[in-house]
């Protein structure tokens, strides 16, 4: 059930990290609308398939446009949408399976196009909606429905992957830090280019990582997540690489490419201006073929 639609029957499990992400996105969109004095209808959420993607139906308050499409294709949908409507603010929400497994092939192209969109990846290290199979970010040796001996594949480190693929803006957050997450998403939306906010959003039913992320001082368990040191220079590629290498997960803004970011649609506009390309009428194109 959602406030806007009482018959809508999807529910997240109690404690699911996705609740926090939803609120953070509502806050980010609302803040952006106020700042720019435009309606939330100038934003669109493009959602993947998974527990995570249902966020698009659960938005409360003023409604953005949405697409809830097919598994793994949020980025190409966003590519076609934003390229044709640079005036729209485009937010992608996607799970770790949706974005990093079936949809992984699309990250590189959008990074290279510097598509001006923001992606919020809701990483719970598991396939939630299909009931608990291993995802690329499930830890090594963890037993899931499809890894009876414990996961035999190495774990993917998404932040490293993003760096490798040339994503120009990378932030890392946790669903439990709603306020900071909202700000991180808002900042990412303000960045004129391809930005990813990778969120640890635990699945309480199939892969509850809250305790791991937080650690346990008394038991001497080091938290998986750690705050990025104040002195980190986000434009320093090597420093960012160092930050994302290793088992632990840095939280905060990791990387923002130095220099001005010219997004894909702007590159095209400038190229058209430079070449003075104009649309020839069909009649003229046909007339050129006259015998």
């Amino acid at each position: 059930m959602s406030k806007r639609n009482p018959v809508y029957d999807f529910k997240w499990c109690p404690g699911c990290g996705d609740f926090g992400v939803k609120v953070a996105i509502e806050q980010a969109l609302a803040k952006r609308a106020i700042e720019r004095q435009e309606s939330v209808e100038k934003s669109a959420i493009i959602a993947g398939i998974g527990c995570s993607g249902n966020l698009v139906h659960l938005q409360e308050g003023p409604q953005p446009f949405g697409i809830h499409g097919i598994h793994g294709r949020t980025l190409p949908i966003a590519y076609g949408f934003k390229s044709n409507r640079p005036d729209m603010n485009v937010l992608v929400v996607s799970g770790d399976g949706d974005f990093l497994s079936i949809g992984a092939e699309h990250i590189g192209p959008q990074a290279r196009r510097n598509l001006d969109i923001t992606v919020v990846v809701m990483d719970n290290g598991i396939y939630g909606l299909t009931k608990g199979q291993a995802s690329p970010t499930t830890e090594f040796e963890v037993v899931t429905a499809t890894t009876r001996y414990g996961k035999l594949d190495d774990r993917m480190h998404p932040l490293e992957v993003y760096m490798g693929l040339g994503v120009p803006y990378i932030a890392s957050e946790m669903s439990s830090r709603v306020k900071q997450l909202g700000e991180a998403i808002k900042d990412a939306m303000d960045y004129p280019g391809f930005s990813i906010v990778h969120v640890q959003s635990p699945c309480t039913t199939y892969n509850d990582t809250y305790a791991l992320l937080k650690g346990d001082e008394k038991k001497g368990i080091e938290p998986l997540a750690f705050p990025i040191p104040e002195e980190h220079d986000v434009t320093d590629l090597d420093a960012a690489r160092k930050l994302v290498t290793g088992k632990r997960i840095p939280i905060g803004l990791i990387y923002k490419r130095a220099g001005e970011s010219v997004p894909g649609h702007e590159r095209l506009r400038l190229a058209k201006e430079r070449t003075k390309a104009t649309q020839a009428p069909v009649e003229r194109l046909l007339a050129a073929m006259t015998i």
Partner: protein, 567 residues
């Protein structure tokens, strides 16, 4: 006197045989003839057997021609491979630098490359060959010279030299023909024609039709034989609000097209069989979420990689049902370049009108064909746009039992375009009654596509009903059968799904409907049988188009076989 000249340039990929046929056709068209080309080559840049064929006629042409008047053979293999198709009295022009023929009573050995090199114009060997062929067929050389002058006068410094060099090459070829004493039945002079005609390729016609209908955006991934459309759009769809993009796969092109269509724009992609397979899920999304978009599928041969550069009509079933689940995608399959122009425009308009995906189903032989057609009347093309929501229904985008107003992002009526089954505002639901209502709504929308037309001539008991690119050969066969007194009717439409209602009624009333189609399964006749039509296919799956003579004899055989005719 003959009203036809069919010339085949055969050799290896990279030897310019396709270009030779096209140049010959363009020159003849300039001289006032009707022309039509066909080419076939392997999927490689250099080597492998390739040929290009030009048909030049004083009458409008329907096919590239069953038999050759002239075979231009660049090597021994090309000669051996193609000689069976030379008609009696035909002439071989062979590359005597490569091989010799024992019997030269109807053959002319020309070392065209060497002659061109020695004349200091190495690129002119094709023109030497054209000169020889034209001379033997009695084509007026001055018209060809006028063509050369026009083609190579491009406002550049060396123009004059190139023009005179090429004219000299043309005459050199003609000289050799005169010396040999070889002659073909002389080609009739072209008939005077006051209509404006253009020489256009099928893919150009399809692109221009879509642009004429107001296309905004084109996103595609290279694949033979559909790449030409992507390239043409990149070159020609360039206005300030237009967007053309190269996707990183067909999965990406169809998904991005969904995003583009959702954004409110008129959008299209082109692909061929392998890409269409990859687009299945995305096309389902467009059907389900009700997003207007057009996919041009330029058919090639076979499943998987198949025959990338050959022609076939084996994607029909996949086009109508490209993905899983209940759907029936509208399919328009033009029969020639002229139809391709109007078909593409209609595809864009249909997508806008019923708010869903439409497939423009062409094939290699049409896309690559160059043909002279009357200048299309662009004013006949309407530009339909989807009904747009003014916000009065709020976010109830999927309200009602047929087409409903489309909320454009940024404007009022924010909703979720949903590929899962959904309620009126696009929220996911699993309720049986909603799935029933929404499924019926999606199919009911097809009823708005009720402006399709068809051709109907002759009796209705036994009918010849080709589709797509087999139209030309079937039409030529039918015209000859008619003249020979065979009692068979002609029906044709490019609107293969949904079929025009009145046509379907005619087909149902027939005792036998013969469907020539280039596939093994007999795909269209199979579909027609499910619609209660007694349809039987005449199939061919060689990667090449039908020959008229083959079709004629098959039609006669099938009409005589009582077992197929419904009582």
């Amino acid at each position: 006197m003959s009203n036809n000249l069919v010339v085949r340039f055969a050799g290896e990929g990279g030897q310019g045989v396709v270009g030779g046929a096209e140049l010959m056709a363009a020159a003849a068209a300039q001289g006032g003839y009707h022309v039509l080309t066909f080419s076939t080559f392997p999927s490689q840049i250099k080597g492998g057997p390739a040929w290009g064929q030009a048909r030049i006629s004083s009458e409008p042409t329907l096919t590239p021609g069953d038999y050759l008047d002239v075979l231009v053979a660049q090597n021994r293999y090309a000669y051996d491979f193609n000689i069976a198709e030379l008609r009696e009295g035909g002439i071989v022009v062979f590359n005597s630098e490569e091989f010799e023929l024992e019997d030269t009573s109807r053959a002319l050995g020309l070392p065209a490359d060497k002659m061109a090199r020695e004349a200091g114009n190495p690129l002119a060997s094709t023109i030497i060959l054209i000169g020889a062929v034209a001379q033997m067929a009695g084509v007026d050389l001055s018209a060809l010279e006028a063509f050369i002058t026009k083609r190579w006068t491009r406002g550049r410094a060396g123009d004059e030299q190139i023009v005179s060099g090429n004219i000299a090459a043309l005459r050199m070829g003609a000289e050799e023909a005169i010396k040999s004493g070889l002659k073909l039945e002389q080609l009739e002079a072209p008939k005077p024609d006051t209509t404006t005609r253009i020489l256009i390729r099928g893919y150009e016609a399809a692109c221009l039709g879509a642009i004429a209908a107001g296309l905004d955006s084109f996103i595609g991934y290279p694949i033979s034989p559909a790449t030409t459309m992507l390239v043409y759009m990149e070159q020609n769809l360039v206005g300030p609000d237009k967007f053309v993009g190269q996707a990183s796969s067909e999965i990406e092109s169809i998904a991005s097209l969904v995003g583009a269509g959702f954004s409110g724009k008129k959008v299209m992609t082109s692909t061929a069989g392998p890409g269409l397979s990859l687009m299945g899920e995305g096309l389902g999304l467009a059907w389900m979420a009700e997003i207007p978009l057009v996919v041009a599928d330029v058919q090639r041969g076979g499943p998987a990689t198949g025959l990338p550069t050959k022609t076939e009509q084996s994607d029909l079933i996949c086009a109508i049902n490209p993905g899983h689940g209940d759907m029936s995608v509208p399919v328009i399959a033009p029969g020639d370049p002229e139809e391709a122009f109007f078909a593409a425009a209609k595809a864009v308009n249909w997508a806008e009108r019923y708010q869903g995906p439409v497939i423009l189903l062409t094939e290699a032989s049409i896309a690559e064909r160059a043909q002279d057609i009357p200048m299309p009347d662009v004013s006949l093309i309407s530009q339909e746009s989807r009904i747009v929501s003014d916000g009065s229904v709020g976010n109830l985008r999927y309200k009602g039992d047929s087409v409903s107003p489309f909320p454009v992002p940024g404007g009022p009526g924010a909703y979720v375009a949903n590929g899962s089954e959904h309620d009126e505002q696009g929220d996911t639901t699993h309720l049986p009654e909603v799935h029933v209502a929404m499924t019926e709504r999606r199919f009911a929308k097809l009823k708005t596509l009720n402006d399709s037309t068809y051709e109907s001539e002759g009796p209705g008991e036994i009918i010849l009903l080709p589709w797509g690119g087999s139209k030309g050969a079937a039409r030529a066969a039918w015209l000859e059968l008619q003249a020979e007194g065979v009692n068979i009717g002609w029906r044709y439409t490019m609107f293969v799904n949904p079929l025009p209602e009145a046509l379907l009624a005619e087909l149902r009333a027939a005792k036998l409907v013969l469907v020539p189609e280039l596939n093994y399964l007999g795909q269209f006749s199979g579909i027609l049988r499910t619609l209660d039509v007694n349809a039987r296919s005449i199939t061919q799956y060689t990667g090449l188009p039908f020959k008229v003579a083959d079709l004629k004899s098959e039609v006669r055989t099938r009409m005589a076989s009582a077992s197929e005719v419904r009582a």
